[in-house]
Every structure is written in structure tokens, then in C-alpha cells.
């Protein structure tokens, strides 16, 4: 039987680790230093990066549902580590090809239109952009087409020339240049579309966590901040911001749940597309509401709102923005046709197989 719910003990452990390690100061320092060794060691110490990766290839086992639940907490706490990349993306690709995951943090090449990587004689040459934490990881994993079929490639990060670059949240999104770097290659049944969807799923889940935290933070702040002799949360127009933020958090939260569940069960193409479209849009509207309700306090580096809002602004564009995924959902809707449109909304990807 497929487990669609996460292991509670594991989720509790993860929550404790994130609460203890991802303090405001630590998240700030990670941005300054490019790496959060303390967070990584604590998280890796209990095996969290490799949850959901089969033991056979060097993971710690557990389910996809477990891994996504842990990732949601990482999003809630702005955990400044390549958690999505190490297990859910790199670990997943490697496992799909039967390659070992190895030790230490890993990342993936997300793939952009500007990339120019080419494969020849078992070696990779060219440049790839926006590679998360390339400067800090031990292994870089990518999906390549080779002789008309998809393969997973794995290279040692030390072999890459890394030029540091940051996303809006100050998370490393580096440029890597490879000059005939030896690559371990093995065939996979993952294709580019499945990989992009998997990436989008990780961003949906991270954003669900961040939106939930942002909604709570904004409620707390406005309940404590007094102007005109009362908490600003008493003003109707401020309440509207609070409600809009909570609505976005609830909507993306349940969309992330539905997409995660569909991914655990199999085909989640519709759910992930819809969830990423909603999450990327909510990132815009919820951050606007949260910032407005905070006044100037939200604009300082010294207060935690920006840890969440800047991440949301970065993640909404990663692995496809709302326009890209709206188009995907629209294409699915047109393919379904008028008669099957409501069944698509009510039953999602599996409307044919499980009704």
C-alpha cells in the first residue's frame, strides 16, 4: 500500500531540528557566508536530506510523503540549506538511474534556456546557470539527453568551475562551467517534463511552508503593534490584509497537500501544475499583504519578514512561474474538453484510472 501521510515521529524530529538551528541570526549568517554548516550538520545528522531516497542507493528510506513533509517545515523555517536539491531532486534522479547518492549535500542543474552543456565521450562541457548551492555541494546531478534517450549524469562538484550568484533571497544560484568534466552516466525513465514537475513540486511545498509562517508572523506582529491607542490588527483594512494572507496560505497549503498526495500515488501532472500556478500567484499577493500590514518594520533586514518574503519572490519563478504553469493547466483543460473539464477539476490527473 502506498503511504500518503508522513511519519509523525519523523516530522516531530525535523520540526525540533529546524526550530533549534534556523534562528534569525543563523539564517542571516548563512546568507552572508554562503553556507550554514551548523544547520546542515544537524539536519544531515538525523538523515533528513536523504529521507525518501531508497537505502539501496545510499538514502535512508522512508516515503515521498515523509520527504515532502520535512521540506514543508524547511520552508516554514527558511532553512538555508539545499534540502530539496539533495534528496528530492538529486537523490531522486540518481536513484532513478541506480546511481549512488554519496555523502554530503548535492544539487541539480535546473536547466535554463541559456545553458550550453554538451556531452561527448563521457565528458561534459559548457555552462549552466542558476545551479542551487553549487559552491557548497559535493555532487552536481543533471538530466541529459544522450543518443535519443534520457540519462542521469553525476559529477563531483570540485570538477566544476563555480561562479557565485544569488537569488532574491540570497540563496546561492551559481553558474557552473565545465571543461571536459568526467561524468558518471546511467539511463533513467525520468524525462525533462517529469524533472521540471518534480522541481516545481519542491517549490510548491517550500512556498506552502513559507506562506504559513508569513501568515502567522503577520498576525502576531499586528496584534502587538499599537497605533492610535489600539493594535493595528483592529483596523478593518489591516484585517483585510491578514485575511488575504491567511487565504493564500490556506489555498497553497491545501494545494501542496493535494499535489504531494497525487505525486505519492503516481501521475501528478495536473495537480503539480495547478499548485505551482496558485503558489506563484499567492507569493505575489500574500507578500504584498504581509508587507503592507507590517509597515516599515517589514522593510528592515533586522526583522524576519524578509526571510520569508524574499524566498517567496525567488521561488515563485523557479521551475516555472505562474504564467508557465497556467499555460500547462490550460493546455490540460483544452485536452480534456468541455465535457471532461469538471472531472479534471474534481478528480485531477487520475480521473480516468480511478473513477
Amino acid at each position: 500500500m502506498t503511504t500518503t501521510t508522513a511519519d509523525e515521529l519523523l516530522v516531530d524530529t525535523a520540526r525540533k531540528v529546524f526550530i533549534e538551528t534556523c534562528t534569525f541570526e543563523v539564517v542571516e549568517a548563512a546568507e552572508r557566508d554562503g553556507w550554514a554548516a551548523g544547520v546542515w550538520e544537524a539536519v544531515a545528522g538525523v538523515g533528513l536530506p536523504w529521507v525518501g531516497v531508497p537505502e539501496a542507493v545510499g538514502g535512508v528510506g522512508g516515503t515521498l510523503a515523509d520527504a515532502l513533509a520535512v521540506l514543508r517545515l524547511a520552508g516554514q523555517h527558511s532553512a538555508p540549506i539545499p534540502l530539496a536539491e539533495t534528496g528530492l531532486l538529486a537523490g531522486w534522479l540518481l536513484a532513478s538511474a541506480g546511481l549512488p547518492v554519496g555523502q554530503g549535500p548535492a544539487t541539480v542543474v535546473p536547466g535554463s534556456a541559456r545553458d550550453s552543456l554538451s556531452l561527448g565521450g563521457g565528458r561534459l562541457t559548457g555552462t549552466a546557470f542558476g545551479v542551487p548551492w553549487a559552491s557548497a555541494v559535493e555532487r552536481i546531478v543533471l538530466l541529459v539527453e544522450d543518443g535519443g534517450r534520457w540519462k542521469v549524469g553525476s559529477i563531483a562538484a570540485v570538477d566544476a568551475e563555480v561562479e557565485r550568484s544569488l537569488n532574491l533571497a540570497g540563496e546561492p544560484r551559481d553558474t557552473i562551467t565545465l571543461d571536459g568534466v568526467p561524468v558518471e552516466l546511467a539511463p533513467t525513465d525520468v524525462d525533462a517534463a517529469a524533472f521540471e514537475r518534480r522541481g516545481a513540486l519542491t517549490r510548491v511545498v517550500l512556498m506552502a511552508g513559507a506562506l504559513d509562517a508569513m501568515s502567522r508572523l503577520t498576525l502576531d506582529y499586528t496584534a502587538g503593534r499599537e497605533q492610535f491607542g489600539r493594535p493595528v490588527a483592529r483596523f478593518q483594512l489591516v484585517q483585510e490584509h491578514l485575511v488575504h494572507c491567511a487565504q493564500d496560505a490556506a489555498l497553497v497549503g491545501i494545494a501542496a497537500d493535494a499535489a504531494s498526495r497525487a505525486a505519492v500515488l503516481g501521475d501528478a501532472s495536473f495537480e503539480i501544475a495547478a499548485a505551482k500556478a496558485l503558489a506563484s500567484r499567492a507569493a505575489t499577493t500574500a507578500t504584498r499583504a504581509a508587507h503592507q500590514a507590517h509597515g516599515a518594520m517589514g522593510m528592515t533586514r533586522e526583522y524576519a519578514l524578509h526571510h520569508l518574503s524574499r524566498r517567496l519572490w525567488a521561488w515563485r519563478s523557479e521551475f516555472g512561474d505562474e504564467h508557465r504553469w497556467n499555460n500547462e493547466v490550460g493546455t490540460a483543460a483544452i485536452a480534456a474538453g468541455a465535457d471532461e473539464l469538471y472531472p479534471l477539476v474534481a478528480n485531477g490527473s487520475d480521473r480516468r484510472t480511478r473513477t
Binding site: Q236, V243, A246, I254, E322, N326, N327, G330, I334, V345
Partner: protein, 379 residues
């Protein structure tokens, strides 16, 4: 505290039910054989309500001993979402099934339950809602309709307004003042009023599209027997509050413009839509999908015995604002001036939804009032 919405997974039985409703509609009410409406604004058809009742699709969240089916709110959700999105004529039993039967079940006497609920579950009795008055809209506690104690019952005088469907239904549950109290939320009571009673005058209030949907209900010395007081005298305010979670969190607050989207697609089947229309369609479908999950989660809370007042207000507000956005987004995809007389169903639906759209964020509690309700729950 942000509110907790839990994803509802449909069971195999619930999926089978969904299929059954779809097949029933395709067979009994084929497309093209009727003029479909916009969600809960669909026409009233006593015969159709009875046929649904015979299938067990009215009173689904009502105990068997009162003629219901004890299937709960999620089960009801699954059936009614199909009816709404099909544009089926469900108006006759809609309010009775959604909330009036629930109020009687929760607060009514045994005799009232026996008298009204089985008839509602049979699709026979239709109800309206008697809350708003000329001087009491959002501020419901300002109502002036008064019931004075007389021998064997109450004598009622006052005026209700915006009463949807009162010209077609049979009864309404009416909020009125039964005593004066220091706190104006006290001293209010709910009475069951037969809309055919002597002294009840129903005057149409024309809707802006020229149609007849809502009414003014003038009550002049209307006699309501003692046994038609619902619940406790003076507790009407609290009872009404509980009624509103049934009224607010359902799929009827999301699906009003559904057919507009579906018909847009149907009328363009076979023609390439282009990127803007594809993205707009995708935006709408993604949001229907997401908000639907929240709405079904609210109904699960009701099944768990909770009264999700804040959650249902949160969903109602988001869903109805989205409904309005959908209408505007679809309107901009086509180069037509919508007309109620158009030969195209899509264009008729567009015309109707443009005209009715503003009411979505007013009826059942305005956006502004809902923000207050949600905020209380978020504290």
C-alpha cells in the same frame, strides 16, 4: 492562528457516487434539453427536486429517522457540486436542504422535526431565508420585525426584504424580536412561518436584469402558533450564527460562473485558442481546483461536528471574489457584447453573470463582514 484545512481524500464509494450523479444528469437532464443556470441561481423545478429526492439526493446530511440519508456534508458536497456545475434546476429545495433542515434538526422540537424534515427530504417543501430587513442588512441585530406573545402563539408584524424565492417556496425561517433586552443580540428568536399564512404579502423586488428572484415579504398581524418557535426564545442570534456556516462554505459559492468557463471551451472546441486564452483558462481551472479543496475541507469539519464559522467565511470570501474575477477574465477573451437574448448559450451565460456577479460578494454576508468574521477566528 492560521486555520487548519485538511485535505479530503474521496473514498472509492464517494467516487462511485460522483460517477452515478454524472450518469444520472447525462441521462435525465441531457445538455441542450434545458436552459442551464448559474449555480444556485438556477431555476426552480418542483418535479426535478422530487426526482432528485427519490434518488436520495436531498436530505443527505439528515438522519434516517427524519427521512434523510445520514451521509454527511462531504457526501452532500459531492452530489451538489455535480448539480451546480451542470446548471440543473435545483432552486426549489436548495435552501431547505442546505440550511433550513439543519436548523430545525439542531434546534427544533421533535414535533417540528417530524413535520418538516421528511417533507424537505422528499423534495416537496421549499424554504426561504427571512433575515434581512430594510434597516437591517449587515447589522442583522437591528431587525425590527416583532413577534408579540398572544394566546397560543405569536402575532408578527414587520417587513423582510431581498427574500430569495419567497414567491416560489413554502416556508421561511424568520428572525424577529420577541423581547427587548439590554444587549440587542438577546431577545431575538427564530420562527417558522408559512408563506401562505393570512397576513403574509409577497411583493416582487425586480432584479436588475428584469427577472424575479427576490421579494419583499410584508407580515401584518400574522399569527404563528407556539409550536413553530424554533429553539429557545431569545436565542435566535446564536442559532442564526450557526446556520451561517452551512450557508457559507459550500460549492455554491464557487461554481456560479463554472458553466461560463465550460461553455467557452465548448463553443471553441476545434478552434485553436492561443496563448492568452490558454493561460486564462489554466488560471481559472487551477483556482477552481484549489478553492474546491478548501470548500470540501470545510464540509469535512462539519461532518466532524465542528462549527467552522471562520473557515467557511474565509472560503466564501475568497471563492466569491474569484467568481467575479472569472467572469471578467472570460469576458475579455471574446469580442462580443454579451446579450441575454443571444442565440449562443455562452453569450447568454456571460450576460447573466455580468449582471448577477456583484451579488456574489453581497448575499450570504458581504466581503467586508466576512473579513471581520475570519479575523476573529485568526486571533
Amino acid at each position: 492562528m492560521p486555520l487548519g484545512f485538511e485535505l479530503v481524500e474521496l473514498t472509492a464509494d464517494e467516487r462511485a457516487l460522483q460517477q452515478e450523479v454524472r450518469e444520472f444528469l447525462a441521462r435525465e437532464l441531457p445538455r441542450g434539453s434545458f436552459e442551464p443556470g448559474l449555480g444556485m441561481d438556477n431555476p426552480s423545478d418542483r418535479g426535478f427536486s422530487k426526482r432528485l429526492a427519490q434518488r436520495g439526493w436531498v436530505g443527505m446530511a439528515i438522519p434516517k429517522r427524519y427521512g434523510g440519508h445520514e451521509r454527511g456534508a462531504v457526501y452532500r458536497f459531492i452530489v451538489v457540486e455535480e448539480l451546480l456545475r451542470w446548471g440543473a434546476p435545483i432552486h426549489h429545495h436548495w435552501t431547505a436542504d442546505r440550511q433550513s433542515a439543519q436548523v430545525i434538526l439542531k434546534f427544533g422540537t421533535e414535533e417540528q422535526k417530524q413535520r418538516f424534515i421528511p417533507a424537505i427530504c422528499a423534495g416537496e417543501l421549499g424554504f426561504s431565508i427571512g433575515l434581512s430587513e430594510p434597516d437591517a442588512g449587515s447589522d442583522l441585530a437591528a431587525i425590527k420585525t416583532r413577534a408579540v406573545k398572544v394566546d397560543g402563539g405569536w402575532q408578527v408584524n414587520g417587513t423582510k426584504v431581498w427574500t430569495t424565492g419567497a414567491h416560489e417556496t413554502d416556508w421561511f425561517i424568520m428572525l424577529c424580536r420577541t423581547s427587548d433586552a439590554e444587549d440587542r443580540h438577546d431577545g431575538l428568536s427564530q420562527l417558522l412561518v408559512d408563506l401562505h399564512s393570512p397576513g403574509v404579502q409577497i411583493n416582487a423586488i425586480p432584479f436588475l436584469d428584469g427577472g424575479h428572484h427576490f421579494n419583499e415579504v410584508v407580515l401584518t398581524d400574522v399569527f404563528v402558533p407556539d409550536d413553530l418557535l424554533v429553539g429557545e426564545e431569545g436565542r435566535g442570534w446564536l442559532q442564526t450564527g450557526s446556520e451561517l456556516s452551512f450557508e457559507r462554505g459550500g460549492p455554491d459559492r464557487l461554481l456560479s460562473p463554472w458553466l461560463l468557463v465550460e461553455e467557452f471551451l465548448r463553443e471553441h472546441e476545434g478552434t485553436p485558442l492561443g496563448e492568452r486564452a490558454t493561460a486564462t483558462l489554466g488560471w481559472a481551472v487551477a483556482r477552481f481546483w484549489g478553492i474546491r479543496q478548501l470548500s470540501i475541507a470545510v464540509n469535512r469539519m462539519i461532518d466532524q461536528g465542528r462549527a467552522p464559522a471562520a473557515e467557511s467565511a474565509l472560503v466564501k470570501d475568497m471563492a466569491t471574489r474569484f467568481e467575479q474575477d472569472v467572469i471578467e477574465a472570460v469576458r475579455q477573451l471574446v469580442e462580443v457584447s454579451p446579450s441575454l437574448e443571444s442565440g449562443s448559450l455562452f453569450e447568454r451565460l456571460l450576460a447573466r453573470s455580468v449582471l448577477a456577479g456583484p451579488s456574489y460578494t453581497i448575499r450570504g454576508g458581504t466581503t467586508e463582514v466576512l473579513v471581520g468574521v475570519v479575523s476573529k477566528g485568526l486571533r
